[in-house]
Structure formats: C-alpha cells, structure tokens
Amino acid sequence: MTDLPAEYLYVLSIVLFILSLRWMSEVKTSRLGNWSATAGMAIAILSTLAAFQIQRTDLLVGAALVGTVLGTPIALKVPMTAVPQRTAMSHAFGSLAVALVGTAEYYQDLPSINLFTVSVLSAEMILGFLTFTGSCVAFAKLQGLIPGRPFVYRGRNVVSLSTLGAAVALGVYLSLNPTQEFVLPIMAGLALLFGLLLVLAIGGADMPTVIAILNSYAGISAAALGFVLNNKVLIVAGALDGSSGFILAVIMSKAMNRSFANVLFGGVGSRITAGSAGTAQAARSVQAYTPEDVAMVLEDARSVIVVPGYGMAVAQAQHVVKEFADVLQRRGIDVKYAIHPVAGRMPGHMNVVLADAQVPYEQLWEMDRVNPLFPEADVAIVVGANDVTNPAARTKADSPLYGMPILDVDKARTVVFIKRSTRPGFSGVDNELFYLPNTMMVFGDAKEVLTELVASLKRRGGSRQKV
C-alpha cells in the first residue's frame, strides 16, 4: 500500500480489536468491547475505501445493501435458543467470502503469480471451502433440517481423509505449477466435499467443539489472505479469531475429556442401540414421581441447584424455569444454576438462553465453582441435561464417559430428574443417577412438568411462608 494514512488507520483498528477482546473479559465492560470492535471495523473499511479507488461503486453499494438487508433481520429476529445455528451460518458466510476472495486473487494474479502467493492461497482456499460446507452441515443439523445424529459408515475416516489428502496434494501441485488453472476447481470441490463428510459424521452434542473449531478455521483463512495481500489488519484480526476458536475448542474438548481427533473422527453417539448398558440395566427399576411429590420435597428445601441442558432449550422451558426459581426465592429458598461447559450446542449457550429468560447472571455458576456446593444442596433439579450429570464418568473405567468432568448432582440430598424417558443421553450410556435411592424421576415434557410444579408450589404458597 502506498497510502500511508491508511496504514496508520489500520493500526488504530487493530488496537480497537485487541481492546475489544480485553473488554469482553467481563460483563461490565463487554458492551464497550463490542462498540470498540465495531469502530475498528468501520475504520478499517473506510480507510480502505479512501486508499483504493473502486470504480464499480454500483456493485459496492449493492453488495453493502444486500449485506445490511440480510444481516439486520438475522441479528434482530433470531431467538437466543437458535444462536448456535446463527453462528454456524455466519461461519459459513465468512469462510465462503474468504474462499471467494482467495479464488479471485488467484485468477487476478495469473499468470505472474509466485510460489509463496499461490501456496498460501491454496491452503486458504482449502480451509475456506471446507469450513463453508462444514458450517452449512452444522447449521442444517442445529436447525433440524437434517438428523443431528452422526452419519457414519464403515471406512468413513479413510474416505474423508483421502478426500482431504487429495485436495492438499492438488494444492501442492498448483503451487508448483501455478498456471495449471484447471486444478483449482477440482481442489475446491474436494475441499467442499471434505467439509461435508467431516461434519456429517459428528453428532449434535459435539457441536460446541465443532463450532469452535470451524470458528478457528474461518479466522486462520482470513489471516492467510492477509499474508497474500500484505495486510496487517487482516493478519491480526484473523489470528485473534483463530486463537479464540482454538481456545474455545480446547475448553470444550477438555470438558468432555476428549481430544480434537476423537471429536472429529470418533463418531461418538452412533451406537445408541448397540450399547450393552441399555440391556443389562433394563431390569433395574426406576421410581417415577409426580410434580406434586417434588413440590412437597421442595417445601422443606433451603437451597436448590438447577441443572439446565440442551433439552431445556429444545422444550423452550427456560422461561418457566425462571418462574419456578422465582417461586422458590419468594419462599426464601436459595437458587443457583449449575452450568456445565458443554451444556447446549455452542460454548456459553445455556448462559445466553437463561439470560434471555431474565435470569440474573450472578445466579449462573460455572462447574468448578458450583460442584463443592452440591453436598450442601437440598435439591438438585436436572432439566434437559443427562450425560453431564452421569456419575459413571467418575467411577466406571469402562464407560465412554469415564474421566469427563461432571456436575456432582448425585451428591445433593435429593435429585429431581425431569426427563421424557429413561432413554440414554447422547453418548448412548445409561445414567446411573436414575437408579440412585435419592433420585426422583419425573417423566414428561420439561415445560409441562415445571408448569405443574410451579402451580403446585403456588397452591401450597400459604401453608408455609418463609421470610
């Protein structure tokens, strides 16, 4: 770039992006963080427009208009329960944009394109295109357009990895023979296919990790473009996004005690019917209770911990959960929410859904902080969660869940488990918790059960008022 002011303005927007992440560390300053990044973006775009005279302003304005018209309703209308889908879609848009720019840049630079440029562009296009289809599949799964269960078949890892291998091989070939234009569409096609195969094989409950990994890829491919165009703001913004996605993916996979490779290629959750656990424990009996029974127990409680899971969001039960908590609090009962890192379909999903139901964030407790409190809790009430509460993760070395950090729900004096049936959770493992003597199973839709429970508690309202 010959225009010096633009370079300085890029530095300013880089600073604003970095500050924005700094301010995202706590709720108090988080909105400032978002404004800071917005300002950084505006500066980056405006200084680019000022430095480079674009002739086709009609197309530019048209594209910006399309973006605004598409983006605004998405941002304003999407319900909080559907934020994971929105995020997957934005990864798809972002990575496709980057892949298309990479493709354009390749054709633009032909025939005098150097080895460095074409090799970085190849890597960037492969990453961009596979992230695009991968994110589209993630979107379709989260939106329920296709089944959330993993699509697995014998030898799928061989097929997937050889697809990727072929794409990379073509990328290398293209780098060494940059004028062989015909290679590019084949390479792009293989990358698109690999993204599709990769995410089709991953199940719904692994989505928090997958979304974080796709987030990381989208960032890295943007940074790669920065290398080609020698643009520092792209390099930094891409690196920040890439590292953010990476750290989130690490946190998610640690919270499941699994490696990335296991999440991507393990195909967990595909053997729901095959597990021996289901048949062996069918003989064990489960005691079913009514909401009325639970209300009776709650009357004597002093502290209650609510354990929400994705099932709560699916049943749209978050508002009645809040109402339930309000009724308890009016009785002087202490209420906390225990949030497992992988509860929901993306990092932090449960927090957002509950915040949307107007739950104050001080009541949302992270796993590490809340676990020591379960032994003192009178009632732990599980709404739409399953695997993250399974004590087998602590005790049974042969369980697929073994070693996964869980919420110590079983240590509460009484466990109330609201569930549609005793069907195992995503992992396909039966939950020990169902059979514990201090567990009360309440079968039914989370929303209906809680509504009844609230009504029952309200009926009892006069009998025993605490201050």
């Binding site: 560390s25 480079f52 674009i54 973006g67 605004t68 934005s90 290398f227 913004a237």
Partner: protein, 100 residues
C-alpha cells in the same frame, strides 16, 4: 493503479504469531458466561476480510473476478452487520439481579 506493497513474510509471520499469543491470553480471561457473545464478536471481527475483497475489487481483470469479490463483499457485509448487532443484543441480556 494502486500497488499492493511487497509482502515482508517474516514480519507478517511475527505479527501473526504475536497476535495469536495475545489472542490466546485474552480469550483465556474471558468469562465463560460470555463465550457465546465472544464467538459472535470474533466472527464479526474476522469479517474484516471485507477489506481484502475491497482491495481486489479495485482493478478486476474480468467480470468473473468482479462477480466473485462482489459476492464476497455481500457475504462479509452480512456478517459484519448481523455479527455486531447480535452481539450487542446478547450482551444487553446479561443483567444483575433486577429490582422489581
């Protein structure tokens, strides 16, 4: 014609590595409460790739290239608009114990 300056690969690599280390440290300190808005924010930030699309848009050799970058601008613009707006919408939800 505007010229894109010759890339200094080593400097850029250093910038990339530094930004990655910095990003890693910053993200580690983000409250778990805010991981969802963090992701929507970083996604919007990475759509600064619109800058790359704009640069290629300056002197496209043919209509095919122009089409590719115009679509890219539209996609990135969608992400920027929706990304920052939804992040603010999410962040506004996080409130302290309200006084009724």
């Amino acid at each position: 014609m505007v010229e894109v300056s010759q890339p200094d690969v080593v400097v850029n690599l250093l910038i990339f590595l530094m930004a990655t280390f910095l990003g890693t440290e910053l993200i580690r300190h983000v409250s778990r409460l805010l991981h969802t808005p963090l992701m929507s924010l970083t996604n919007a930030i990475s759509s600064v790739s619109i800058v790359a699309a704009l640069i290629v848009m300056v002197g496209p050799k043919n209509d095919f290239i122009l089409t590719l970058v115009t679509v890219a601008v539209a996609l990135a613009a969608t992400n920027i608009v929706s990304g920052f707006m939804i992040t603010d919408r999410i962040l506004r939800l996080f409130r302290r114990r309200q006084t009724k």
